[in-house]
């Protein structure tokens, strides 16, 4: 092989970056379109919570007026932002599951040998996953509308940036976790050890003041849970408001998870140094 062929390219044009982004997003979109059951299950999960769980608990969990709400709301209305975040949480974990699958199947190797920087490849992957999760959330909101979940019209627009940020955060978390998983079978543990604790120890299903009444310790756990802040960021944005603390926490967590994921996927520095047993290194 000649010497110039071994030379690593030093810079890429924006067009080249776009080709890469397009490739990754398109692949994710195709995968999403072809896996219809994945889309349906992503919708059915929150709808089951909305139609069954919320109906059962409607009378039990009376909701007092807390910001951003200005009047009494039904329990269904309260848990809607939590369910939106749940869609993104599952989607984030699912896309990281797909990364484990990609790694086992060898697709990840193809991706990571791309000459473009690794951080860029991972960011593209993350963006693609977030876009898919946002589509799922809007589909859920459309169905919820027929269930009398009617946030202000402007809320459908103002929630978009919040969804983008929370989608990135949860996607980055999934990516960070997936970097530490060697085999697809291990992913069930993630469900039990990450998704459920994150979801239940948050303000998704019950306001934190109610958690405080039951268990002060759990209240503090909930407060330190970034998922709580993702839910609250979505909740406020859905009503055209900004919860600055949640924004800061979600923004900070996104950055931290993203950096962690990039380091973890770096074969020379991160957790990825695991030998040949399924690792991409």
């Amino acid at each position: 092989m000649s010497a110039p062929a071994l030379e690593r390219p030093t810079g890429f044009t924006p067009a080249q970056y776009l080709i890469c982004l397009n490739g990754i997003v398109w692949r994710e979109a195709l995968r999403f379109l072809h896996q219809r059951e994945r889309f349906v299950s992503a919708l059915v999960r929150p709808l089951v919570w909305l139609f069954i769980f919320a109906a059962g608990f409607r009378q039990v969990l009376g909701i007092s007026i807390i910001p951003p709400y200005e009047t009494y709301i039904l329990y269904e209305v309260y848990i809607t932002p939590g369910l939106m975040a749940m869609i993104q949480l599952f989607n984030g974990m699912q896309s990281s599951l797909s990364m484990v699958y990609d790694r086992e199947m060898g697709n990840m190797r193809t991706l990571l040998v791309s000459p473009l920087p690794r951080w860029y490849l991972l960011s593209c992957k993350l963006l693609a996953g977030t876009a898919v999760s946002i589509l799922q959330v809007y589909a859920f909101l459309a169905i919820a509308w027929f269930w009398d979940i009617e946030p202000p019209h402007i809320g459908y627009l103002t929630v978009l940036p919040a969804l983008a940020l929370t989608g990135l955060m949860l996607g980055a978390l999934g990516m960070l976790i997936s970097s530490g998983i060697k085999q697809l079978e291990n992913f069930a543990g993630v469900m039990n050890f990450v998704i459920f604790p994150m979801f239940f120890a948050s303000s998704a299903l019950y306001p934190l003041w109610r958690v405080l009444e039951g268990s002060p310790a759990l209240y503090y756990v909930c407060q330190f849970n970034p998922f709580t802040h993702a839910v609250e960021l979505i909740r406020f944005a859905l009503y055209g408001q900004i919860n600055w603390i949640s924004l800061a926490v979600v923004g900070g967590s996104t950055a931290a998870f993203l950096i962690g994921a990039m380091l973890a996927y770096n074969p020379s520095r991160g957790l990825g140094r695991r030998g040949a047993a399924g690792g991409e290194t």
Binding site: A55, R58, Q59, I65, E70, T71, Y72, I73, L74, E150
Partner: protein
């Protein structure tokens, strides 16, 4: 050469347009006639040529029209801006009687905030503005009187001689006579509002509460909680001329503005009886069923009807809901979630909003009447009961 002829055609067309402009007042039409043919279909060189000194008239005409359009635009923008800035100025004030804290909360409907709290007698319940809007009448049951609050100064200026434990009352159309239901005395007291003296009593059923007066002012309705009747009282003779049996514990009565129907809510019965005032008989009953709510928890109390008689709102007490009813078909259209133990209600004079009192949760919920949605809840005193609204 061809260019020149095109330009000359262009110029003459533009001149004609300019003439039309000076004759025709429509700025947009004029602007379109100048700018479209003269400027848009030309090359940049032609456009520059058209604006040279030889083509002053076109330039001036265009300029004049543009100026005129701009002036109108500025005026329109200012008008729209002023509308936007002044839109929320509905300028009403709501007075809410707080049964337990012995106060009246004053709510500004521009800001939806409590702007004053007035200390009144014990157990204030029935509350209403006088017809001239100068005073607020509030029945203070445990003090056995009706107090007059000056709406301007928020001071209690006088007391009216009701019977023992006055609860609800109604004024005649002229605002000269007040009819008061005295819960503990089984009577309706008649008070001359101008002289502020008691002019008579009518003996009614046990625990009188709901009061309504027919639109023609000839018939006064009183409902008695324990007798379960709506009593029809002739206002001229002050005699009961009819009784209609309704469901258990009738709380409130409301006439349609066209006198075609009288609605009486029954708290324990859980229904609203629709009565034909002419025949004095129940012609229909409205029942309520809130999904997931026990039937006993659905206790209709306050009723409010829009002036056109199309829509009615019924407070359902401990069901924490206000029912929206099609007043023509008597069909319940939807239930709006409000605070706990919703009791009485009042429209703003423009009927844009309906305010309801929530006794147990100590607040007042605001309903957007057109959207049929609750959009705000305001904390007031303890056990809010009655509400009245008038322009500031």
């Amino acid at each position: 050469m061809r260019n020149e002829s095109r330009i000359s055609k262009l110029v003459s067309r533009a001149r004609r347009s300019a003439k039309r402009c000076s004759a025709d007042p429509g700025p947009f039409q004029a602007l379109r006639s100048v700018t479209a043919p003269a400027l848009q279909r030309t090359t940049p060189q032609q456009r520059r040529a058209a604006l040279r000194p030889g083509h002053d008239s076109i330039a001036k005409a265009g300029h004049r029209v543009t100026e005129r359009a701009m002036t109108r635009g500025v005026i329109a923008a200012t008008f729209i801006l002023s509308l936007v800035v002044s839109t929320p100025a509905s300028a009403y004030v709501a007075y809410v009687s707080n049964e337990k804290s012995n106060t009246v909360s004053v709510i500004d409907t521009d800001t939806w905030a409590v702007t004053a709290t007035i200390k009144v007698g014990q157990r204030p319940r029935g509350i209403e503005f006088t017809r001239d809007g100068r005073f607020v009448l509030v029945a203070v049951g445990d003090d056995d009187t009706i107090e007059l609050i000056d709406a301007a100064t928020h001071q209690i200026v006088d007391k009216l001689p009701s019977g023992p434990d006055p609860e609800l009352f109604v004024q005649d159309q002229s605002g000269k006579t007040l009819y008061v239901a005295n819960e503990n005395d089984n009577t309706v007291t008649i008070i001359d509002l101008e002289k502020r003296v008691r002019t008579g009593d009518v003996q009614v059923g046990v625990e009188p509460e709901g009061m309504a007066i027919s639109p023609d002012g000839k018939i006064l309705i009183n409902t008695s909680e324990t007798t379960n009747m709506a009593h029809f009282i002739d206002t001229a003779t002050r005699q009961i001329v009819g009784n209609v049996l309704v469901d258990s514990r009738p709380r409130f009565a409301e006439f349609k503005r066209d006198n075609s129907e009288l609605w009486v809510s029954s708290e324990i019965g859980g229904t609203v009886s629709v009565i034909d005032p002419g025949k004095r008989e129940v012609t229909g009953k409205i029942s309520f069923a809130v999904p997931g709510m026990r039937r006993e928890a659905i206790q209709p109390v306050g009723i409010a009807m829009t002036a056109d008689g199309a829509t009615a709102f019924v407070a359902l007490g401990p069901a924490n809901r206000v029912a929206v009813v099609d007043a023509k078909t008597h069909e319940v259209k939807k239930y709006l979630l409000v605070g706990q133990r919703v009791w009485h209600m009042a429209f703003t004079p423009d009927e844009k909003y309906l305010l309801v009192t929530n006794g147990v949760s100590n607040d007042v919920s605001v309903i957007d009447v057109a959207a049929q949605k609750v959009f705000k809840t305001i904390q007031v005193g303890e056990l809010p009961w009655g509400i009245t609204i008038a322009p500031k």
